[in-house]
């Protein structure tokens, strides 16, 4: 089935202001890991992308950011077309070359070392992974600490990535190289930059 441009879900209504507002939300999330932030900008969304992930794409993706999509998104031709049309970002097959990755099925998230981890000289040249999760308000509790967090904060979330705490612990060992995560559920987002210590709360 072909989607014509006329049938494609819209982007931001006011590109400049919506991008600014979304960016500030993502920036606040990144500066305060574990805090749940709400994306207010409205845009069309190609299923199975979530509103928050779509807004992040419209705000941060462009021709200079190769994007990798997991199978669930890549097999939906609409998502690829929508990303290419609205952001001009190249959608690539090799995750190691990606600036951003979008994951719709957290259970099949590839190992972090399949993505770009940056180099010791340029640790910023690493993939930011946007993961669509079931909930950022209910689910198992995690204790988070590190830069951006006043002591310890607790996040309740149904993330669905197997062994996430172990993977993040391994990620922390690579510092300053590493992956940064943006968790999205609907319009809510939570950032887990590489500096955040993330442990499942006992009991």
């Amino acid at each position: 089935m072909m989607t014509t441009i006329a049938e494609m879900p819209a982007g931001f209504a006011d590109k400049v202001i919506a991008a600014q507002s979304t960016f500030r939300t993502v920036m606040d999330a990144m500066a305060r890991p574990g805090s749940v932030q709400l994306i207010r900008a409205v845009s069309g969304v190609p299923a199975p992308m979530m509103r928050g992930a779509a807004a992040i794409a419209l705000t941060l993706f462009d021709q200079d950011t190769p994007v990798w999509l997991d199978e669930k998104l890549a097999t939906s031709g609409d998502v690829i077309k929508w990303i290419k049309f609205h952001t001009s970002a190249p959608v690539i097959a090799d995750a190691a070359g990606s600036s951003f990755a979008v994951i719709a099925d957290p259970t099949s998230l590839p190992e972090f070392d399949r993505f770009a981890l940056g180099s010791p000289e340029y640790p910023d040249r690493s993939t930011t992974i946007v993961i669509q999760v079931a909930s950022l308000s209910e689910g198992p509790a995690y204790r988070l600490s590190g830069p951006g967090i006043d002591g310890v904060t607790v996040l309740r979330a149904a993330i669905g990535v197997p062994d996430l705490a172990d993977r993040l612990a391994e990620n922390a060992c690579r510092f300053p190289r590493g992956i940064d995560l943006l968790l999205v559920s609907g319009e809510s987002i939570v950032a887990l930059p590489r500096t955040t210590q993330f442990v499942a709360q006992e009991g």
Binding site: K15, V16, I17, A19, Q20, S21, F23, R24, V26, M27, D28, M30, A31, R32, T59, L60, F61, D62, D64, T65, S99, S119, P120, E121, Y122, P123, D124, S126, T128, P147, G148, I149, D150, G151, F175, P176, G178, D180, P193, R194, T195
Partner: protein
Amino acid sequence: MNAPTYNFAYLDEQTKRMIRRAILKAIAIPGYQVPFASREMPMPYGWGTGGVQVTAAILGPDDRLKVIDQGSDDTTNAISIRKFFQKTAGVAVTTSTVNATVIQTRHRIHEAQLGAHQVLVYQVPIPEPLRFLEPRETETRRMHALAEYGLIHVKLYEDIARFGHIATAYAYPVKVNARYVMDPSPTPKFDNPKMDNCEALQLFGAGREKRIYAIPPYTTVQSLDFEDYPFEPYKHKACCALCNAADSYLDEIVTDDKGSRMFVCSDTDYCETRQAQGHRGSENASPFAESRHA
């Protein structure tokens, strides 16, 4: 010829995206200098183009912007930058530190404690703390990669050997989150303690050198020192002649050519707020004796 038109906050959207991505990586790697493709701005390099690009990339219509240079809202460069954003973004501006959501600064951190709703944007001339010890970028990048910071400690220790003190009074290097050594920009070392465990996000933009770096909120910022020579913040021996503050950073005003000096707050908003609250200083220029030796 068509009269040129400009986007909200001057920068085009593609440039903003590029800067925004750099800011996010900077926050994720506290104290690390992220290279970015700094643009030519309509003001000279070295006059705040890095700070202006960072501010332009984060600023929105709901923000209230404050711009200070040397702690003051009324220095010509602060006025010039404030007017630039009024003109290109139509954004609300303020001189009140507590009311501002975004504060762009050159050479000072204001006296009032920063809050979680605020972002402090620093203008940075030379972002590399190791640059004056090693001019080569390829070398300093390697040193940061390996966290090989012996050189800077040697420099500080040589100061102690020569002068009995660490002879760095401003742009005093810090270690962020126990990993990256970072240049706080040419703020006086008096301001260094304010960066530590600060509630607000701090962003640093160096336009000419094309680097962005950040300190997330609640992050340790340790001024470099030695066990036997701990970091000493600079203290003035005087109070502000206008508001009598004893805890602020003071500017020295030369009042005649016979050695008279007076000291007033460098942070004009802090000083004016205190004066409005009824605090009064000596308001008199009193002779200041330069210590002499034959």
